[in-house]
């Protein structure tokens, strides 16, 4: 199981859950599992999400691998200026 911390607007999209534990080997599987748990999450995920794995930030990158030891945060889709 991978522990995923949900942050900011992502948390609201997933029914307010702070963390979820999912069976997943990569980012897409994480997103799919959360989507199954929280139907509202799907829209957010289509809009794009940012995932931090062990402090490294990935934008919309489905196949980044994760392990049980990974620190995973789902952050709002980042936009800059």
């Amino acid at each position: 199981m991978v522990k995923v911390v949900l942050w900011g607007s992502v948390r609201a999209a997933a029914g307010g859950a702070e963390t979820v534990e999912v069976e997943a080997k990569n980012v897409r599987q994480i997103l799919d599992r959360i989507g199954e748990l929280h139907p509202g999450f799907k829209d957010r995920y289509d809009e794009g999400v940012t995932v931090s794995i062990d402090g490294q930030i990935y934008v919309d990158d489905w196949f980044q691998p994760v392990t049980e030891d990974s620190e995973v945060y789902l952050l709002p889709y980042l936009e800059g200026g």
């Binding site: 911390v5 942050w7 900011g8 607007s9 948390r11 609201a12 307010g16 931090s52 062990d54 402090g55 490294q56 930030i57 990935y58 934008v59 919309d60 990158d61 980044q64 620190e71 945060y73 952050l75 709002p76 980042l78 936009e79 800059g80 200026g81």
Partner: protein, 755 residues
């Protein structure tokens, strides 16, 4: 300062990277030859102009275009009726052309195409619009109050449990943090709590929005425009006009500044719609007034920050609430503000809450490190006050609490290698830090953080028959990036900088490229350029191997030459890139390298700014007399342009801190839509803006690059507020610190003091 075991990338010796050659677009720009948005023309071109709402908030009852269309020279008018409803781009659609309501002064209600600007202007006056004026709201705190005029009847605040039953102007509530702030405050010896306000500031790019659209009768479109992201513009426009993406080709012009403000559409879909209707090219250029009224400034904000610390300077808790209004539609950058607010500190207990609020103002657009500067202004002002209360030097206080590799960030993830401490150390070591201050002068210091993004990037690098290199990137050059890309290509290929020519290609020529935003270009396009060069090198080596009749693996690329790898490979004279390029056709065909990726490994950049301000205590005028910006660049590819980014951030920060603000009158109309009364700093307002480039390499980039474009605007407002407050002897908590406000505060303090 650099620990080479910690920072392995730092070991590399660079040949070209780190030098300061002239930029490839420089001569064109100083001779006036460069073609900006408004410089593009086409035969038979019409002039497009927009009719805008004079009301801050009104129902759009009817639009009558008959008289305008009857005017000789008028070829077409478009209104809301010319754009189909679009669920996905619902807000973008309503922002470019009002539908049910006008939501701000300057909101577009119609656009006309005519044979001349004079005719177009006359036509605008002939368009009859019936409004049903509604009460409006401008201020963020007012907009949040129950009973405030509602912009959207269906706006139910998200992120609140239980979900509210009635609509409000609050689009969403956000929360970030970890630990227990109540416990943290209980442990504190000193707690400082303050309220802050910041005014809406415009990016102030010198070039107004401009475009030329051309639509052929068979449904093919072409668009030339000044933008930070022509692929994104293509996507928005194709969607809003209901056409295939491949049928719209967008070319980015040279750009006279964007700073985040040119990452979305305003005129472009209107010009395309007018061109589609008339069958002729249509050019549209905003006036400065239109830029102010109807493009995207950043949010105005209101906030409360509370920080507690022990006597020895350890911060025990940080808490903040941020309220950002982002104009008429949801999407203010409050999330990012709430995430970045305490990012400089390793905190056990931290909590930030953000509210995204709508008001009757133009929809905000990104502005350098969107959301972070306002939060940093508030937090770093409180940190300064704590330092004073604790009698600890402000840099020392920051060092005690500074976030480092392995610390949990205030926005969640654990920080990888970052360079905040190094910027603080460099600040302390700078001569400015201990330079004496004159009368009525004060010194302020603040730090700041902003993310760095990667994202979709596509680059193509073509080796020409004469051994020169054409590099095509898809990220508009908003800060000297063509020079930086050329440097990286030259470095990787082992050739001279002058042999590389970089261009920004149109949307038909390369794969999708995300917008030039998020400080991502030198990082992400740079990474793709390096990979593309590496791919080209593989082919170059393979061609040499063919010619030498040895296996490909037996050839390596060193110093711009293919050469046999080791003694066993055979004894051949190394071949230069030019040697191989000359016979490319005979050895298999043209040689090119390309790279398409979603770049990851971006590294964040921290900055610390130090500023001296002199205040005239009798007039409240604050003048910046000395400025030093210190920032981590990871690795400065072209140091001059890195310094330019630092300086640009500081200069814009000075404006935002001291004078820039959107001023609305009681009717909700913008009072200062021009550079006369919207006061960006002029040259003589600024001292030399000194810079120090700190280089703590980003392990996620082969050269160590960190994006530097945005962080530079995060600390200035706080640093200047700290300096002004020190000089004037009163704590300033509202931006801008314009003379009337500052004088009032000084006089109030005098009155209190003598009473």
């Amino acid at each position: 300062m650099l620990d080479k075991t910690k920072d392995p990338v730092a070991e590399r010796d660079f040949k070209v990277v780190g030098t300061r050659p002239v930029r490839p677009d420089g001569v064109d720009k100083v001779t006036g030859r460069a073609r900006f948005g408004a410089d593009i023309s086409a035969p038979g071109m019409l002039v497009g102009k927009v009719k805008r709402s004079p009301h801050a908030h009104a129902k759009l009852v009817s639009i009558d275009t008959e008289k305008a269309l009857a005017l000789p020279g008028v070829k077409a008018v478009v209104t809301r009726d010319d754009f189909a409803e679009n669920k996905k781009q619902c807000d973008v659609l309503r922002n470019i052309m009002a539908r049910e309501k006008v939501l701000y002064d300057g909101h577009a209600v119609a656009a006309v195409a005519a044979t001349s600007a004079t005719v177009a202007r006359k036509a605008l006056k002939l368009i009859e619009v019936e409004y049903d004026v509604l009460p409006h709201v401008i201020d963020v705190d007012e907009a949040m109050k129950p009973g405030a005029p509602l912009l959207h009847d269906d706006m139910i605040t998200k992120g609140v449990d239980p979900e509210p039953e009635t609509a409000s102007n609050i689009a969403q509530r956000y929360e970030f943090g970890h630990g227990d702030v109540e416990k943290g405050f209980a442990e504190a010896d000193v707690v400082v709590e303050r309220d802050f306000k910041t005014a809406a500031a415009h990016q102030g790019y010198i070039e107004p929005h401009a475009c030329l659209a051309s639509f052929t009768p068979d449904g093919q479109g072409e668009l030339w425009c000044c933008t930070q992201g022509h692929y994104a513009i293509r996507g928005f426009c194709a969607d809003l006009l209901g056409m295939d993406i491949s049928k719209l080709r967008v070319t980015a012009s040279e750009i006279g500044g964007g700073f985040g403000g040119k990452t979305t559409v305003f005129l472009e879909p209107l010009a395309l719609a007018l061109s589609r209707k008339t069958g002729r090219p249509v050019k549209m250029v905003m006036s400065r007034e239109e830029v102010f009224r109807a493009s995207g400034p950043t949010a105005s904000t209101s906030s409360r920050v509370k920080v507690g610390a022990t006597k020895d300077g350890k911060i025990t808790a940080g808490e903040a609430e941020f309220r950002y209004q982002g104009g008429a539609f949801k999407g203010s950058p409050v999330q990012f503000g709430a995430m970045c607010a305490f990012a400089c500190y390793a905190l056990e207990n931290v909590k930030t809450v953000g509210y995204d609020v709508v008001t009757n103002r133009p929809k905000q657009a990104a502005y350098r490190a969107p959301g972070a500067p306002m939060a940093a202004f508030a937090v770093e002002s409180v940190i300064e006050e704590l330092a004073v209360e604790l009698s600890i030097d402000p840099v020392e206080l920051r060092l005690i609490n500074a976030a480092e590799e392995g610390d949990q960030s205030s926005f969640g993830p654990t920080f990888p290698r970052i360079g905040l401490v190094e910027t603080l150390e460099a600040t302390k070591a700078h001569e400015h830090f201990s330079a004496p201050l004159g009368p009525n002068q004060g010194r302020g210091i603040a730090s700041g953080y902003w993310f760095n993004f990667g994202g979709a990037t596509s680059v193509s690098l073509n080796i020409q028959p004469d051994g020169t290199v054409a590099l095509a990137v898809g990220t508009p050059d908003i800060g000297g990036s063509r020079a930086s890309m050329s440097l990286m290509a030259a470095e990787e290929l082992g050739i001279a900088y002058e042999k590389v020519k970089a261009i920004v290609a149109d949307t038909a020529s390369l794969g999708y490229n995300e917008v030039s935003h998020g400080s991502r270009v030198t990082f992400a396009s740079g990474l793709a350029t390096i990979e593309a060069a590496r791919n080209a090198k593989k082919i170059l080596c393979a061609r040499a191997a063919k010619m030498w009749e040895i296996p490909e693996e037996a050839v390596e690329w060193v110093d711009g030459h293919a050469r046999p790898a080791g003694a066993n490979a055979g004894d051949f004279e190394p071949m230069s890139l030019a040697d191989i390029a000359k016979v490319a056709e005979q050895t298999g065909g043209p040689i090119s390298g390309h790279q398409e990726h979603n770049a990851s490994g971006a590294g964040a950049s921290f900055a610390t700014h130090m500023v001296d301000v002199e205040v005239d205590p009798e007039t409240g005028r604050a003048h910046v007399v000395r400025y030093t910006a210190v920032q981590d660049a990871g690795k400065a590819i072209h140091p001059s342009y890195v310094e330019g980014q630092f300086q640009g951030g500081a200069a814009q920060g000075v404006g935002w801190a001291l004078n820039e603000e959107y001023i609305y009158n009681d009717d909700g109309r913008l009072e200062n839509p021009g550079f006369l009364d919207y006061r960006i700093p002029v040259c003589s307002d600024l001292p030399m803006l000194d810079t120090v480039i700190v280089e703590v390499p980003n392990p996620g980039h082969p050269y160590g690059v960190r994006g530097v474009g945005e962080t530079g605007i995060v600390p200035p407002m706080a640093a200047i507020a700290n300096a002004v407050s020190a000089a004037a002897g009163v704590r300033m908590t509202e931006l801008p610190m314009s003379p009337p406000k500052l004088l009032k505060a000084i006089n109030a303090k005098k009155a209190n003091g003598s009473a």
